[in-house]
Symmetry: C2
Subunit: 154 residues, 2 copies
């Protein structure tokens, strides 16, 4: 029982550390973007396109879990900087497929590579198995938090 309480306490604290973690990470990412001309939200668009290939604005919105209207804004910024280009969409004629341009592809690859070098450096003294464990715990937590399981407890 004591151990159970300890675990819950630690899990509770872990969950509340997600905000400091996110803030520290985003601050760092922002600094890494200095000089690239990218904003954090433009970077998000490029990253998704790089990871999943071209997509429509509503597609990207679904992946980012934010409203398409806001994504449209983000995407338009990347379009006007020639980081992406709208190509005719065979599946839907008014919804263009947004694709990375060569310029956009190179930029996001540079940015991600630089970020990964930093992460490699920061993770040097963390055990690989521990990282895997942490990752699993976090993924499980997200899943549980998003499900409505346990709602009756409230």
């Amino acid at each position: 029982m004591y151990i159970v309480m300890e675990k819950t306490e630690q899990l509770y604290r872990l969950i509340w550390m997600s905000r400091p973690l996110m803030q520290a990470a985003e601050t760092r990412v922002e600094r890494g973007l200095d000089g690239t001309g990218l904003t954090v939200r433009m970077r998000a668009v490029l990253e998704i396109l790089h990871a999943h290939g071209s997509a429509t604005v509503p597609d990207i919105a679904m992946k980012l879990e934010i409203k398409r209207q806001y994504v449209q804004l983000m995407v338009n910024e990347t379009l006007s900087e020639d980081l992406t280009i709208g190509r005719p969409n065979p599946r839907h004629k008014t919804s263009t497929m947004i694709a990375l341009t060569e310029k956009g592809r190179r930029l996001i690859e540079d940015v991600v590579a630089r970020e990964k070098r930093l992460v490699a450096f920061m993770g040097a003294e963390i055990d690989a198995a521990d990282v895997a464990t942490a990752f699993d715990v976090v993924m499980t937590l997200i899943e549980k938090l998003k499900s409505h399981e346990g709602e009756y407890l409230e």
Copy 2:
């Protein structure tokens, strides 16, 4: 080398999962606040006062790592709901000590207890040692991200 890459990749993804984790957690917390009359930011004030005892507005701002002007706003809301009360501060006469009222104390205790029951439920099938590992990894990450170490890599 392969393992190092794998670890870095996983660490990178773990870091980027901090936002989904935080969002899922805060959405859930918000739902838990339904019917209490509390907002998330009022809850934050009460939680700090409950955990650390009474404090001045600038103290709370330091703990939350946000500007005192915004914390003032948050605190004023709790004051006007009689969840907290300003008491003369022996150490500084214009800066009142903000303390929980009985009403505030009972409310935050209820809220936290309910949240912990939910966390206990969600963590039931997660190993205690894994939680401890995840917690350590996350704390280490936050520390590394906040330090300027590795800046030269950028």
